[in-house]
């Protein structure tokens, strides 16, 4: 199996609970970097990084501009910024227009991550009530990365995983707990 170098996750409505379940399921010492775009109200303080960090599985923090992506860390896009991946594997942020009514946009994160990590990237679409992330999933598959959608029938909001599946670019549909088990299995 190819050695994966990064995991990108997109989530929207119901995302906090889903991310909690997923991250809680990871083995301590899980070392593939995780980068998350979760739709949030532009005015929300980012309590989310703090909340997920307290689950004590991996280090969770808000992504900073020009920050280097490190193993053993999960990064969350700051509210009201798009999060992009640069070729030197650092983050950059922009405030350009919303994409799919969202900032952060899952598509922007996924598409820029796909160009950098190519076949060594896993893209995961979780619960959400819009179509963000579908184009990103297409691009990840185009570059040979691995793609997963949360099972729409058990997702809090099924529109987003359904839209991702409809692209024909999703390789696996799984329950949240199964996603965690799968990710753990990638570690030796």
């Amino acid at each position: 199996m190819q050695a994966f170098e990064a995991i990108v996750i997109g989530s929207s409505a119901g995302g906090l609970h889903a991310l909690k379940t997923l991250i809680k399921g990871l083995k301590p010492g899980f070392d593939i970097p995780i980068i998350i775009a979760q739709h949030l109200s532009p005015h929300s303080e980012n309590y989310m990084a703090h909340f997920l960090d307290q689950l004590n599985t991996i280090k969770v923090k808000e992504a900073d501009e020009r920050e280097k992506i490190l193993a053993g860390h999960a990064y969350i896009a700051p509210p009201n910024f798009h999060l992009l991946i640069e070729n030197d594997r650092t983050f950059s942020l922009t405030v350009e227009e919303k994409v799919n009514y969202a900032r952060p946009s899952i598509d922007i994160l996924f598409e820029t991550a796909a160009e950098v990590f190519r076949e060594k990237l896993i893209g995961i679409i979780l619960t959400g009530a819009n179509h963000d992330g579908a184009n990103g999933i297409r691009k990840i598959r185009f570059f040979g990365g691995f793609t997963i959608a949360q099972n729409p029938s058990s997702a809090e909001s099924d529109t987003m995983p359904k839209a991702a599946i409809q692209t024909g670019s999703i390789l696996k549909t799984m329950e949240l707990e199964e996603i965690a088990v799968f990710l753990n299995s990638l570690l030796n």
């Binding site: 900073d64 501009e65 020009r66 700051p78 910024f81 992009l84 991946i85 640069e86 070729n87 950059s92 942020l93 922009t94 405030v95 350009e96 227009e97 994409v99 799919n100 598509d107 922007i108 598409e111 820029t112 160009e115 184009n135 297409r138 691009k139 185009f142 570059f143």
Partner: protein, 282 residues
């Protein structure tokens, strides 16, 4: 903005074409995007390439060199023109509470909004200065490299549909009046009080290629540095340092910082969350 996926397997060719295009734009027209963060620039150029139904960035370069109207489109794509009134109200509240009391001690103020885009934040701060009784002794410079957005800024007309959100922001920013005192709504447009423009000079200025034009007491430059690489961030921060008087203030965007920059030791932190810094008096 469309969001179609661009399928280019060979990223090294795309990178090369992008670098050549940016070099061509700089050498022919003087606009320097060579030190912008690449991921964003690539997205925007590919977007324009697709809109014009071109096959490659090399073709886009050709169009830019031979058709200045294509350059205008690309400049618009690469300029940062998403803003709002009292964006991040806590930033303005902090200016009001922590910076205004010190600015009040000067007989005359020069304030520079660098990268002002369509001007929403310029009017926001002009209103704040009025409410604090400092407007009459202030000279405000609002600059951007994009002349098209400056024209919008000069008009001071914004969509009525945004006013509800701006009003909430204004209140959260410590606004002292009714926000509707400052604009006249007609149909779908809100015209801001032309009196607010009296002491504002809107001017073309490029942070990447132009130099300091005035000694200033406060510089507000928000969500511009995030588009630049470290080298260019340092260059622009040094420009600000040169413009500011000793004891002058610098307000950046919420994810921007002077930490780890070459001017780090020249500033004190006034508000770490709102990214407001004061140049040391020494």
């Amino acid at each position: 903005m469309t969001n179609s996926v661009y399928y280019e397997k060979d990223d090294s060719i795309l990178q090369l074409e992008m670098e050549l295009l940016l070099e061509a734009v700089f050498r022919q027209y003087g606009y320097d995007f060579r030190n912008y963060n690449k991921a964003h620039v690539k997205r925007r150029l590919v977007y324009r390439m697709q809109q014009l139904k071109l096959e490659s960035l090399s073709e886009l370069q050709h169009k830019i060199l031979h058709h200045p109207q294509v350059l205008a489109l690309v400049l618009k794509d690469l300029s940062i023109n998403v803003t709002e009134m009292y964006r991040d109200p806590a930033f303005y509240l902090s200016l009001r509470k922590e910076v205004i009391p010190i600015l009040r001690t000067y007989p005359f103020l020069r304030i520079w909004h660098a990268g002002c885009a369509t001007g929403e934040e310029v009017y926001s701060f002009a209103i704040l200065l009025k409410e604090e009784g400092l407007y009459e002794r202030s000279q405000i410079y609002a600059t951007d490299f994009n002349t098209e957005v400056l024209e919008t800024a000069k008009k001071g007309i914004y969509p009525v549909s945004k006013i509800k959100e701006y009003t909430l922001n204004y209140q959260d920013a410590g606004g002292k009046n009714s926000f509707s005192d400052f604009y006249t709504a007609r149909y779908d447009a809100a015209l801001f009080d032309p009196e607010l423009k009296k002491n504002i000079v809107f001017a073309e200025h490029n942070l990447v290629t132009d130099s300091v034009f005035a000694e200033t007491h406060l510089i507000i430059c928000r969500n511009v540095l995030i588009y630049f690489n470290r080298t260019l961030q340092n260059k622009v921060l040094e420009l600000f340092n040169e413009s500011l008087i000793k004891g002058g203030f610098l307000g950046l965007g919420s994810k921007e910082n002077i930490m780890f920059s070459t001017v780090q030791d020249q500033f004190l932190i006034t508000n770490p969350n709102e990214k407001i810094f004061q140049k040391k008096i020494l």
